[in-house]
Symmetry: C2
Subunit: 367 residues, 2 copies
Amino acid sequence: MHIDNIHKPSLVLDENKCRRNIRFMAQKAMNSNVLFRPHFKTHQSATIGTWFKDEGIQAITVSSVTMASFFSIHGWHDITIAFPLNFREIDEVKKLAEKSQINLLTASYEHLEILTKKVKFDAGCFIEIDTGYKRSGVEWNDYEQLMRMIDIINKNNNLRIKGFLFHAGHTYSAQSPEEIISIYVDSLLKIKEIKKRITSPGLIFSAGDTPSCSVVEDLSGIDEIRPGNFVFYDLMQHQLGSCRKEDISLAVYCPVVDINYKRNEVLVYGGAVHLSKESITIGDNGKKIFGEVAFLAENGWVFPEERIFVKSITQEHGILSVPGKLIRKLKRGELVAVIPVHSCLTVDLLREYHTLEGRIINDLSPK
Amino acid sequence: MHIDNIHKPSLVLDENKCRRNIRFMAQKAMNSNVLFRPHFKTHQSATIGTWFKDEGIQAITVSSVTMASFFSIHGWHDITIAFPLNFREIDEVKKLAEKSQINLLTASYEHLEILTKKVKFDAGCFIEIDTGYKRSGVEWNDYEQLMRMIDIINKNNNLRIKGFLFHAGHTYSAQSPEEIISIYVDSLLKIKEIKKRITSPGLIFSAGDTPSCSVVEDLSGIDEIRPGNFVFYDLMQHQLGSCRKEDISLAVYCPVVDINYKRNEVLVYGGAVHLSKESITIGDNGKKIFGEVAFLAENGWVFPEERIFVKSITQEHGILSVPGKLIRKLKRGELVAVIPVHSCLTVDLLREYHTLEGRIINDLSPK
């Protein structure tokens, strides 16, 4: 990449690491005999989508109808929209379903009742179950509601029951990889309980958070996985234990603007409109941080011997807190690599990747 | 506005309220005999810029070189870039300075030393001082450094000294309007002290946070104000006491997707990629919230008798916590208005306004 061409905060992608992450997850799914239906909401890009095709992937997950339409245009014809259907977009879904096999999501009996009335086209239907995250979906052990829902789908001429979908987002609050595994095992036990009561044949159980899919070695207890974030990973995933630092394939290159030697602080051009306001807390005193800094190296970035964090951000300003012996390594006008806390949100803000080889990728789904 | 055309999270702007906010601030500046140089980083739009022209505004503030170039193209020819100059963009600034009068910002003696070497074109120069926010700038009472900086600017053939610029961003941590006023008064005392020591004629003192400019009645102690957020205001400003709820001119209309009567929660399509992850804490127990809900009314939105908050958000999901007696008023497939916590970040994410009259405004500065 021509570093000289980077004048303002820019998303830099290490394609090798990214492809390695994709390959790793595809292999794990294959070894576990689980369908890999990656979530494309993290990268949102048609080009990066082709890197999944290179690994044999044919079915995907998205989080919006707009994204489904975008990837349908870009040659994906088996798409799950993993967000309870927003009825205001029914006409767009109808058009979409003419070109691609679409799976919709329903999250309650009342939602499904409306869905059955609105859907006048062929579509798969997943029922969202809540296994503990408490965001959306039918409580996993409300068997009566689940059976009524399967029943109404089975009686409908347009919808075909696909199975149960859940997102164990509570893994993001885990304090250790062991806790992630225990949440995963808990989901498996719940699936077993459901299977005891609901014996319709062919029901797919689809799970999908990146922490579980990364940490659990053998995923064979479920039928389908839908992780998304693993394609890049980020600081949050690293803190959870989902990845090593060297697996993170994305950074925001930010210009160093000014240095305050008295306070050991550095002002970079790179703020909330580049990184997002997502934060994590680190250390025993629970310090909130918005990114971690690496130095530019011949082929990407390397982490310094002591950690440097983005301690605060406003719209365009990022303030780094830099250990005394490292601050002299930073020069005004040079670039640093900032590893984002949450790559999904950072990508959505910047919407253009520079690969280390100098290629620009900006074919992202509209919002 | 044709509500029926809104299918997904959309920024809705009440033009009347917005113009009223602009007029109010322009009048206050005029009454205080202070130059009004509004910050355009909040709205970023060429069209909304013309609403300022309608009030006689000719000089503006921006936070990036990209934004300066954008507004220069759109007929603004007196622009302060209120971010210490990022030297990697010097060529773009040079081009810009050929068309518009540009004021640059410098934040330390070392930064200025580089600036004087790099700038080979005519530009105004503000020295950033830090009056207590501790983000960037020379400490206000480091008179020796300030005088050395004025000296080096005066000796330079390209830079012309404009004065001192500060941003009292610590007003955002104020607990009451009285505390905002006391921070403002403190700034005035500091300006007096500086004026005692630095007596060069014609130096402008430029201040600019929305809380101070909104709460302080008479701004005559300073020379120039640069507020930005007041054009829309938001929940954060309302909580600070900068505005009334009816002054907030912006909302995100979000589709209601599903309702959980057991938990009194509502899922809306509208998450971190629409509202941003900015939060405020409310109430005595310090509950974190990501937006507040209003109901759609004939000509905009109205707040319900009890407050409804966005209690959590992920990429596309917003979860509302709804008091029991209000939940029956919400229907799947309808829209609610979500007032953002921080309008600057929400606008930057959605980048397209729908006015209540149905006009689309999407001529925003690139990032």
